[in-house]
Symmetry: C2
Subunit: 157 residues, 2 copies
């Protein structure tokens, strides 16, 4: 896959972490994803269509998802409630929107579908495409000092 399809997602994730969550996210090594499963416990999915087409999956482990909810919404919680699910859906929307802005700089216009959120560890989730699936890990430190990671998996034709 052309690197020009990767950079918009990197820029989008890091920008949204900084502006919406107030923290820095450092990208780890991108990998080719060959596991047909969700990368974390709470996974937002978004279809992006226009001059190109693709689908992204943003996945957090439970504690990371709760951190996002707390930081975005300001409430407290200890488990994956419907409100946490909605917060991850909203973050999926926001990262998708930012990625679309980045793609526009390369004259690639995209629109976003309605996000869906899957809850569950190691849920079998298959991208139906012959194009490679790239998984970008973004490392960050949550408010309790714990190291967390967000996976941004995508395939883009």
């Amino acid at each position: 896959m052309d690197v020009k399809f990767i950079n918009p997602f990197v820029m989008a994730a890091q920008t949204v972490f900084k502006t919406m969550l107030g923290i820095d996210a450092s990208m780890g090594k991108p990998i080719l994803k060959d596991v047909r499963a969700t990368s974390g416990d709470v996974t937002g999915i978004m279809g992006l269509v226009g001059d190109r087409k693709g689908t992204i999956a943003i996945s957090f482990r439970e504690k990371g998802a709760i951190f996002v909810f707390k930081t975005l919404i300001g409430d407290d919680c200890t488990t994956i409630t419907p409100e946490v699910v909605d917060a991850i859906g909203e973050l999926t929307n926001i990262i998708s929107g930012q990625a679309r802005k980045e793609f526009e700089k390369a004259n690639i216009n995209l629109k976003a579908a309605i996000p869906m959120v899957i809850v569950g560890h190691n849920v079998e989730l298959n991208f139906i495409t012959k194009i490679p699936i790239i998984s970008l890990p973004f490392n960050f430190v949550a408010d309790n000092g714990e190291k967390e990671v967000m996976f941004l998996d995508f395939s883009f034709e």
Copy 2:
């Protein structure tokens, strides 16, 4: 939701059943879906974007998914293999494509993202939208004479 957003999906599902699977599918009563879970065991998801935006989920029980695989591909199998998953992804593509044609008749132009397929019974799956989620059941008889159903769940803004 306007009925004009429902009919293209009904037409698409019934047309694809007839032309691709060679059988009639009779639609049961549409319901408002308030359960945050997959409707069946193998679930294809597709984002549709353009003049409107939406996401659909097409869900079969295990035996129904295997019937689709056997009928589309011609091979035999007894469990949900990666090939069965790909067949449901392909059917999701085909039904989405047919629905897009139906929407075009109403001057609504849409494009389709990359489909994803979830495998698992009662997997928590949330549409992140304030728009109602409609679930259309399509009843059909598989080759072994068993009654099966395909659920077409969608939300369309």
